[in-house]
Symmetry: C2
């Protein structure tokens, strides 16, 4: 068709190398469990393998693909290994990867409805589906005053909702006049650090973030929250935002939403609920007790990119009053004006988050839900919880270990009874072995190991292997003289 | 390997459907120029084709792929059509799509160096490469006090740098005490709306954003900036942040960086330069004059996801003082602590932006640079500029049209001499035809059409076709009685 000089990859070449890349990924899926989970490279190793300057001439794609194996792969910590139990998972699946491929292939930028109506409408639609799938309050559906949007991460969701809260509390004047130094936000000592980050970003100031104490199960104490709000009011401050968590990062603690929600209602505080990882369990009716009280929330976010087989990034953020969010974040320069926007008949998601540009992320979510069906999703979530519960049972039954917190779902917090140093050594040796990867936290000031079952392909045999490795490594440490590891 | 019930897509199925998806994308690349560029659907059309509830049972992938053609494709505005001249481009390329595929397949989350060292080190390395490729100041390289990071969008880059500016101006006290109502930021009347959005977000307040007037070429007037700063100082305010643009969104105006930079230096103002689209032209030495003065900048961002054949999202954000950025955004809860971080020998990019989680976006950039080589990238950028200049020549030579602004690179702003209504009709008819897509702006209060040449596959024949269509449509309008369109 063209006689112009071109360095572009032709559709034929793309077909060839695309097939090769798909095969590479399929092969990776098949062998990933044989690779050391935590990358074993040292700082600087990867860079030392890369040429100091970019190439002047283009290189064959075969060379690039070979370097993926030679240079990149040793520097990967394998989040998609079934032996990955660290942090919270960031799992994925075949249909999700296919959805991401299609999104990249279409290459649309969905900042406005008009810039790809399907990008906006599929997103609205799938987020409505999820309200039903998860048993969320109907007020988060798009046919009410509320609605959902895909954000990249829970950090962005909490930032957007805190901004809306800030504006609502100041009659939408902070955008114009600057932040009001009297606004106060509330979290527990266990709430994710992204809230502190957001509080700093929006100009509330960390000194106006109250970290409310937790009970013996690491859940926020509503009585302490109510007392603090009262004290702040007496001091002339304005409580404006509170976050409760369904499944805290450290221990999967479940904050008491009904009590917190009632307190927020009484005090006109924007109530945000963070279900980043555990929220996916709402697919199964037997776990929905954790969502009790969500009907009192002003906003809710959970991440299909953690536990719902949808690759990062995909955070579903719901608000009960979309007008507050849009009024807070809306910008309409002339070059974005268009008939559809001005008709008022469409959603322009650029007004629902910080960024202007946006990828077509609903595709992967749509692919995942359709491939698995509600039935398939529930099956795997139940299985993960079951595996974690079995693991928790082994911990509880072994005299040298103890559970460090309740394990309501798929995260088990535990420790060896030998004290912090033993647990530190245990973690370090386990991770260095490459056989599995887990991370730690502090609970009640004590060093605690976290074991989270949520990787797509984790099965009973992996969890059993992990347990045997943990026991064997603990035995090594107990019989060896203490030394620096 | 397993006897557990599974709803997962097997590696064999993934291989099969992955190949099908690659073929679909290759076929799309081949036929995209035959499709109407701007989607012709009406609000609600896409949703009306989707079932009201998610499926209970999983569906065959063949059905899903069929629905992509049946339901999704009509709702796509084809950003990857060579007939796309709207907004700024968001182009892509074969190697970029392959990089995005690999990123999804590996599924790593690079919040910390330890969570995939290659994700961090390749990013640092490729961003250093780009400093040389673009002829940027060496102070943006990682072996200095500065460095680069990939943000999702220029909006996020300006938010992060404004936050660092806010903290530096308040001795890093705003994070703790809340935003200081005396801080002032400076832009021109032509600066992208993301700065106003960021100013609101961080609590400066829109009333503390100064929109400085521009000259006859729509470039910021340094004399007016200096006067405003002086006036603000006299009023007891604290100038803290200024943005200059290399290639404004409306007209690709080039702000005078040396003068603005000197004023910022004298006044201890954080100087951010936004080269979101035009920055890619720095690949070619003959266009680097636009970067003169960048050595005075505290930060710089440009988007390979606009014009550098790298699919959205990929914004390269450079700072001269990374410590200021990290100190502003750093959070270190116990569950993220690890040996590599505490050694101080590594970069943890989570401290360089709002989000905690991050994809492996450096892969696509690495693939693009290696596939094209510097030579190939320069070739296509030059060609786009050349095509735009030819188009500008046709406008200038045609008595019924006029250029509305200088066209230094690949954006041509023009208008029919028949007045705003004619231009409005012209835009509407052209876009409705599906043959091409362009957007408008206001320059000097007058309705202006924007024609931006930056889509990967736009060639001379497409631009010539566009010009013929524009002339023919203008003739239709001129000969028809005026009517509502």
């Amino acid at each position: 068709m063209s006689h112009e000089t071109s360095y572009h990859m032709s559709p034929e070449e793309f077909r060839r190398w695309g097939h090769a890349m798909v095969d590479w990924i399929a092969g990776y899926q098949q062998r990933v469990e044989t690779l050391p989970v935590l990358s074993q490279v040292k700082p600087g190793d990867i860079r030392a393998s890369l040429p100091a300057a970019a190439p002047e001439r283009g290189e064959p794609f075969s060379d690039i693909l070979a370097d993926v194996d030679r240079i990149i792969l040793p520097g990967i910590t394998h989040w998609q290994s079934p032996n990955f139990y660290a942090f919270f998972p960031s799992n994925t699946s075949g249909p999700s990867i296919l959805g991401e491929m299609l999104s990249a292939g279409l290459g649309v930028q969905g900042m406005l409805w008009a810039t790809s109506p399907a990008c906006t409408e599929l997103e609205t639609h799938v987020l409505d589906w999820l309200v039903d799938l998860l048993g969320l309050p109907a007020k988060f559906k798009s046919n009410t005053a509320g609605g959902g949007v895909i954000q990249d991460a829970a950090s962005s969701a909490v930032l957007a909702t805190l901004l809306a809260a800030r504006e609502r509390a100041t009659n939408f004047q902070s955008n114009e006049r600057g932040a009001d130094g009297r606004l106060v936000a509330y979290v527990s000592t266990q709430t994710h650090s992204s809230v502190e980050k957001a509080v700093k970003i929006v100009g509330l100031g960390r000194q106006n973030l109250r970290q409310i104490e937790v009970d013996e199960h690491f859940a926020l104490r509503p009585d302490a929250l109510a007392r603090q709000i009262e004290a702040d009011r007496r001091a002339g401050l304005t409580p404006c935002f509170a976050v409760a968590t369904i499944g805290t990062t450290s221990s999967n603690a479940l904050d008491p939403l009904p009590e917190i929600g009632r307190i927020c209602r009484e005090n006109k505080i924007w109530f945000h609920v963070d279900g980043a990882m555990a929220g996916t369990a709402g697919l199964c009716p037997e776990f929905r007790h954790m969502q009790n009280g969500l009907e009192l929330a002003d906003s809710y976010a959970f991440n299909p990119h953690k536990w719902m087989f949808t690759n990062f990034d995909c955070d579903c953020c719901y608000v009960a009053d979309r007008a507050a969010l849009i009024k807070t974040l809306s910008i309409l320069p002339e070059y974005l004006r268009n008939q559809a926007t001005e008709s008022g008949a469409v959603i322009d998601y650029r007004d629902w988050h910080v960024q202007l540009g946006r990828r077509f992320r609903a595709l992967k979510l749509w692919f995942v839900i359709r491939h698995y069906g509600a039935e398939g999703l529930r099956h795997h979530i139940r299985r993960h919880v079951q595996l974690a519960q079995e693991f928790a049972g082994w911990i509880a039954a072994d005299a040298q270990f103890e559970l460090a917190a309740p394990a309501p779902l798929n995260l088990v917090c535990f420790r060896h009874r030998g004290g912090d140093d033993v647990n530190r050594q245990l973690l370090e040796r386990l991770n260095r072995s490459g056989a599995l990867y887990l991370t730690h936290t502090l609970l009640g000031g004590r060093y605690t190991l976290r074991f989270c079952v949520g990787q797509t392909h984790t099965e009973a045999r992996h969890v059993a292997q992990a347990w045997h490795r943990i026991c064997a490594t603990a035995a090594e440490i107990s019989t060896a003289p203490a030394k620096a590891t």
